[in-house]
Symmetry: C2
Subunit: 345 residues, 2 copies
Amino acid sequence: MRATVMYGAGDVRIENVPDAKIVEPTDALMTVTYASICGSDLWPYRGLAQFREGGNRMGHEAIGVVEAVGADVRHIKVGDLVAMPFAYSDGTCVHCQAGIHTSCIHGGFFGSPDVGGAQAEAIRIPQADGTLVVIPGGKDDALMASLLTLTDVMGTGHHAAVTARVTPGKTVAVVGDGAVGLCGVIAAHRLGAEQIILLGRHDDRIALAKQFGATDIVSERGAEAVGRVRELTGGYGVHSVLECVGNNLSMDTALNIARPGGAIGRVGVPHDVTIPAAAPTFYKNLTISGGPAPVRAYIEELLPEMLSGKIQPGLVFDRVVNLDQVPDGYRAMDERESIKVMIRA
Amino acid sequence: MRATVMYGAGDVRIENVPDAKIVEPTDALMTVTYASICGSDLWPYRGLAQFREGGNRMGHEAIGVVEAVGADVRHIKVGDLVAMPFAYSDGTCVHCQAGIHTSCIHGGFFGSPDVGGAQAEAIRIPQADGTLVVIPGGKDDALMASLLTLTDVMGTGHHAAVTARVTPGKTVAVVGDGAVGLCGVIAAHRLGAEQIILLGRHDDRIALAKQFGATDIVSERGAEAVGRVRELTGGYGVHSVLECVGNNLSMDTALNIARPGGAIGRVGVPHDVTIPAAAPTFYKNLTISGGPAPVRAYIEELLPEMLSGKIQPGLVFDRVVNLDQVPDGYRAMDERESIKVMIRA
C-alpha cells in the first residue's frame, strides 16, 4: 500500500510500504477515507524531531471504513464508518475511565513504527473497540471535514478550553491562530465565554476566528501583546488562556496575560519552553494545565453539534489534496499558504 | 513598643521600635494577643532572603484586640477580638471578589516595612474592614490555637487541597510534614479524601498526621518515595498532591507521584524550583496550581468547624513562648525541636 514517510526536514515522500494488517486480536484494519496534516507534523518537517532508520510514518487524524476486525473486537463491525482519534486507547483502564485516554495503560499514538500513520491507504487500529467511534451519515465533504477535526484539532481546542476552565461569562484569550487555536475559539464560544481574544496575525485566520466567535484580535507579540490584552480586559488580564502554540514566547505571553487566579490550558507540544516556578505563576496563583488532548473523551459531547451544524470546525480545512499531493500539502502548511490540509482518498 | 526584628541569618532580636499607629483612614490598630512563627520565617532565618537596612520586621499570623480604627472603618469596632490573615486585602476589588485576596489591588503582606510585623506588641492593619475577621468566644488557649491557624497554616493547607482538587474518594499525597503539611492532611480529610499519604520523617509529626486522618506514611525521599507512593496506589500514583515544602526535590517528587490527569496544589514558596515543561507535566496532563493562599477567602468555611472542635489544627502548636522568648522559638523550629511555636502576649 502507499503511505507517507518523512525522512528528514522537508523530505516527505509517498512510498510503497507493507500492507497494514491485523496483528492483535483487539485490532481493526481501516481503509482511510479522509485524513489530514497536523500542525504537530510541521515540527519534524522543520527538523525538530528524531528520524528513524527507514523514515517516520506520518499521520494521526483520520476517518475511514473498517475492512476487518480481530477476534476479540466486539463492538466495531466491518463496514462501519469510523473516526480515529490520534491516540489509541482501550477505553476501560483506570486512566481512560478518568478521561485521560492519552495515558491509557494499553494505549499509544498513531504515526509510530508499529501501527503506522494515517496519511496512507490503510492503517492498523489497536484497541479498536476503545479507540474508534462509529459516525453516522454519508460522505458529505463539509460534514466529514468537521467530523475529521474530532480526531485531533477540535478535541484539542476543546481540551485547551476545558483545562483553562472556560465557563459562562469568562474572559478568554487564545494564543495561536493555527487550526487548534481556531478550534479553541469555537470551544470557548460554545462553553459560554463572554470575551474571546485571539492572538494571531494572519488575515484569513482572523476572519475565521471572528466567524467562530472571537470578539477581539491582538496581532502584536510579546510585551506589546500583553499590554493590549490587559487594555482589553480593564487592566486585569483574562480568566482563561488557551495556549495553542507550545513555544517559549507563547507560554510567556500566556502566563503574563492571565489574571490572578487564572488558568492556562496548554495543548501545544512544548518545544524549549521554560515555566517559571515563582513569578508570575506562583505569586499570581495561576493554574497551568493541559497536555495531549484525550480527544476520545470529548467525541460524544461534540459530535451532535457537528451533525446539527451548530459548530463547523471543518472550516479550518482550506485545501484538499490526494495522497500523492501530500508533500505539497506539507509545503503549503509550512509556508502558511494553508491553515490545514485535508487528504481525500 | 517591642517587636521582633531579624538582621541576618540566625539573628533575631526583640527591640524597641516606634509604636504602631493608624496611618490611613481605612487602618485599624491591633494589640497582638496571640501570634506565631511561620515555616516561611525560617527561610530568612537560614539566610535565604534580602535583609533591609535596620532589619526585617517579622510575623504575619496573629489574633488580637482592636485598639483603634480609622475614620473610614465601618465594620470593625474597638474591642473586637479579630484574626489577621497574613495578607491584607480590601475584600471588594475584582481579585478579592474572585477569592484571590493575596492579589488584592489595595493589598499587601504583613511583615513589610510600612505595616510592620505581628511578632510584636501591636500592629497596624491596613484595609481593616476587608482584612480582619471578628472571632467569637473567650481566650481559651486550645481554641485560640486553632483560630490562629486560620491566619495562615490551616488556610494554606486548605488552599493546597483545594487547588490540588481534593474531592470525596480521591487518593491524596501530602509532601511535607511541617505545620502546613499537617493542616493539609486535615483539609484533605475534611474534603473527603479516601487515602491520604503523608510524606514525612519525624515521629511527632507522623503521629499528629495520623490523628488528623493520614492513612499511610512514606518516610523515604526522592525516587524511593515515588516508588513507595506508587506501590500504595496500585501503581497509578495519586489524584492530588499537596506540595507543602517549596524546594526542587519536593516539586519533583510531587510531579512524579501524581497520576495522569492529577493535580498538584503548591503552597510552599518556591526556592530554586524547576518545573519541567514537557515530561512529566505535559505528557501526563498534570495540573499545577496553588500559590500564596488567600486564607481570608476560607475563614468563613473553616471557622465553624474550629469552634465546634470538629477540626483541631491548633494541635500543630507544640510550644508556647512570650515575646522575649521569640528568638529561642526560631531556634527550636529551625532545629525541628518544635513543629510550630505560638507567641502569647
